[in-house]
Amino acid sequence: MTDGPRPHPYIPNAVPAIKAAMLAAVGASSVEDFYADIPASIRLKRPLDLPAAIESEAELVRHVERLLARNTSTREALSFLGAGCYDHHVPAVCDEINGRAEFLTAYAGEPYEDHGRFQALFEYESMMGELLERDVVNVPTYDGFQAAATAVRMAARITGRRLALLPATMSADKRSKIVDYVRPDVDVELLPFDRSTGTLDTAALRARLAEVGADVACVLVENPTFLGTVEMNGPEIVRLAHEAGALAVVSVDPSTLGVLAPPSTWGADIDCGDIQPLGIHQHFGGGHGGFIASADDPTVVMEYPSRLFGIAPTSVPGEYGFGDVAYERTSFAVREDGKEWVGTAAALWGITAGVYLALMGPHGMRELGETCMARARYAMTRLAAIPGVRIPFRSTPHAKEFVVDLTGTGRTVAEVSGRLRERGIFLGFDLSREQPSLGQSVLVAVTEVHAQADLDRLAAELEEAVR
């Protein structure tokens, strides 16, 4: 047995002899000497009130695993939850690469000792650029909410206008983020959706632009919409925005772009969205990263707050180097005179999404999009056959997610979800709170991980649950 407390394994200089030698080396009698500037009035005169330390790794593992054991994962249950966070398959290689210590434990290195992350993130930008058919893509910002909020601010700065038109289908949470982020410089108005198609009401857009078009900085639409519908009027919406002198911003799910035309082909000005579907686990909502993309127009490029890694020559011919494009626009360079701010965001998820796109390739992304569409359509068809269950926007194409209206069953989403949960199924995201006009509706997400048998099971169990 050792005498006295054991040195903490994460604190090498906690070894008493070393600590004493270091104190002696700097002529300090104790660590108290270093805190001389902190007035006694604000010194904490008691130990922090925290649980006793769990010293051994073995006990720590047991402790945390016991807590996590209270969770039911989407590997154990059959989950159709989406609403912005999706259960796509995560290839093993994605976890392998983002678990590598060289990437995981690095930070803000220069292009010399951290050339690897610069190239990996440049390649992420480049592969997203191919998916989106864009020449400029940022190093990821926090998440798709932030990407959309920043895209709105970019549009306001570029146009010098202060009104943003957003779809009323947008999730309440995303709208909350955008409204909080853009005030007081930008006002937000919601555009209604067509009750038969579940897509933007273009007549309402046209009418509103006729009234206030000269104030509109951007029209932002989502593809697919939060309700899962493919925005069939995308090209027309972009045209209408441009006629009013506004920018068109499209928030797009990148996992759908193997089959859906990228917004750039509609003529959109700024794309944004979330990369979580690209090889990143759901992580209880902790796996998000945001992309912003545009044409290589300096007027737009200079409005990005994010870092943009560009390729550059080195002193050795043929060698690739990388660095920040137009660094002087950032808050790192010029504080509040920069464009919004930049900081630690989601770089490793960017590298991961790059790995995913490299694994999937052009045909993998096409097949992914095709199979999600087919599976979603299959599920819609099966569920629509259940008495009292309605699929309100069934005539509109859907990419992977769709609304199921349970109002006709006489039961609430909460009730039905609860019954299905007991049968090991997570039905979907309850829309009744944020889209009350849709009644007792739930958003059901189907991806490539759901086999036909899973969808048949969902149909059978839902039929039971709504009885």
């Binding site: 922090l48 000792e113 909080d180 007081p184 002193s315 137009a326 509040e336 920069g338 052009p362 999009g369």
Partner: protein
């Protein structure tokens, strides 16, 4: 007892111990851009094929999409077999350093401490990684319990009433605090939409606080006033007194500032701002040296934030995901981001979305959960004594390293001369630069040749030719000796053979970059497609 090993030299045998600095050589794979590795037809991973039973019922919905909506040609992504994807990224990883590989004391302000492997393993569990944030709370009580407890740990560490773990990072947490400050004044009729004479539209910060304090305040609609240090390096109290007034919304300040100097008049700063009717928000990015020593609330702050990826050990991940936490005094609790995690009488945890004064969402869902669980596990491995030891050793390491660095010719630690520092120091190579023509950036490029990272400071360079070192608690005495030896060697080179430093790096993955094209719209290239268009005629 430690036995001192003396260098021994025998003919033909190695010298022991190894001399410092080490003869590092980074992997240099000359790796092509991934598009150059593409082999048409190759596949890296196959998604499930659609079952015939599905196709029989619904056909191929994608094929039915109309023109303009359907993608006509597949995206021009590279095509690689799986090994080749793995090899490419493994090679790139070898051209990257991290805490696990280098003595990462050179990224001051960022607290590059060790991230325990066990915590990475714990959060890789499907019980966390494969859970959805909209699951019924009854199915995620474990995660909610961990988050609820972590909130209480951080409330105790800061002295604050309540904590939200929603922010994505330090800057995201600064934003949350600025947004709460804005909402609080708004609720009292003194917000940005109030009449001119009642409007509080000014935020005060200091130049040695992170640039995001100033930048986030500006985005929120505030005018930013930046205070500079007085002659001793402390934030200037007289300048603060001159700056506050009826328009003051808040003070956003770091302490210790990025110089590692603790502001001993911090209570006075807080009082001056409070008397003017403003709020005080504490950027605790630099909390690592004061855990268990002093607390935000005890100095009178109304709000504070922590960088979970700094102080609480989660990996920095090449620049995120990190995680942030905000803590507030009782009056500001209603303004915290939504939802909050609540515990009912039965002990069950639930999410409260019904909070009318809340600023709403800072990010999707509830926070960067994997990092919150890592942070929880880390605090549990420490306990109160451990956290205090973290602080004390971090500060001891810093003062030890400072003594070693200040022995080197040409370097100084401006301000508070002769005094101790807390957890980091912003040094200046001004003297060396003036005498040799070697700049701080050059020293950083040369540091890469010795297998280490090095950073100057945020801009503007208030301290000329800056270098910011923060040794945290994670590095050993031998590590610190080695880092100091590297700096000493580079300083020697600067005086005796400056060209060696000015043409560095020599043993890194790549050589010195020509940055000019990166500021030229005609030449910059943020994607490979832009590069090919601009530089290879589209080939």
């Amino acid at each position: 007892m430690t036995t001192e090993i003396r260098p021994t030299v025998s003919a033909g045998l190695p010298v022991a111990p190894k001399p410092l600095p080490r003869r590092f050589r980074q992997a240099s794979w000359d790796e092509p851009i991934i598009f150059e590795l593409s082999v048409p037809g190759a596949r890296g991973v196959l998604p499930p094929a659609t079952e015939p039973g599905i196709t029989a019922l619904v056909g191929d919905p994608a094929a039915e999409l109309p023109d303009g909506i359907r993608r006509t040609a597949p995206p021009a992504l590279p095509e690689l077999s799986q090994l080749h994807v793995v090899r490419h990224y493994d090679r790139l990883s070898q051209e990257n350093l991290g805490v696990d590989l280098n003595i990462d004391v050179g990224q001051g302000t960022c607290t590059m401490k060790y991230s325990p492997k066990v915590n990475d393993r714990l959060v890789g569990s499907a019980k966390l990684a494969d859970t959805h944030p909209a699951q019924d709370p009854s199915t995620v009580q474990g995660t909610l319990e961990i988050m609820w407890r972590l909130e209480r740990f951080l409330a105790e560490i800061s002295g604050m009433e309540r904590v939200s773990l929603q922010p994505a990072s330090g800057s995201s947490a600064i934003w949350a605090n600025v947004s709460m400050i804005r909402a609080w004044h708004e609720s009292r009729g003194e917000g940005l939409s109030a009449p001119r004479d009642r409007r509080r539209d000014e935020v005060i910060t200091t130049i040695f606080s992170h640039p995001s304090n100033a930048a986030a305040a500006k985005v929120a609609g505030f005018k930013v006033i930046t205070l500079y240090p007085d002659a001793d390096g402390y934030p200037d109290l007289e300048a603060l007194r001159a700056a506050v007034g009826p328009r003051t919304a808040a003070l956003l300040i770091t302490n210790p500032e990025d110089t590692g100097i603790f502001n001993p008049r911090i209570e006075e700063f807080v009082r001056v701002v409070h008397e003017a009717g403003g709020l005080c928000s504490y950027d605790q990015a630099n909390a690592n040296g004061i855990l268990g020593i002093t607390r935000a609330r005890d100095a009178g702050f109304d709000l504070c934030h922590f960088n979970i990826h700094k102080t609480f050990s989660t990996p920095h991940a090449c620049g995120g995901p990190g995680a942030g936490a905000v803590g507030v005094a009782p009056d500001l609790v209603p303004f915290l981001p939504s939802p909050t995690i609540e515990r009912d009488a039965d002990g069950r945890l639930w999410l409260d979305h019904d909070r009318p004064q809340s600023i709403g969402k800072v990010r999707p869902w509830y926070g960067i959960t994997p990092n919150l669980v890592r942070a929880y596990a880390w605090v549990m491995s420490m306990g109160a004594e451990g956290l205090r030891e973290v602080a004390e050793i971090a500060v001891l390491n810093n003062n030890y390293l400072m003594a070693k660095v200040l022995e080197i010719r040409g370097v100084a630690a401006p301000y508070a001369t002769g005094k101790r520092r807390i957890e980091q120091v912003r040094y200046s190579w001004d003297e060396l630069s003036g005498e040799t023509g070697v700049h701080s950036e050059d020293i950083g490029y040369r540091a890469a040749d010795f297998g280490t990272h090095y950073w100057t400071s945020h801009h503007p360079y208030v301290v000329p030719e800056p270098m910011t070192l923060e040794p945290t608690e994670a590095y050993s005495k031998a590590d610190l000796d080695e880092y100091a030896a590297i700096l000493a060697e580079i300083a020697r080179e600067a005086y005796e053979e400056p060209e060696t430093v000015l043409s560095a790096p020599h043993r890194s993955a790549i050589h010195r970059i020509d940055h000019e094209p990166l500021d030229d719209p005609d030449r910059w290239a943020v994607t490979w497609r832009a590069y090919r268009r601009k530089h290879t005629g589209g080939a």
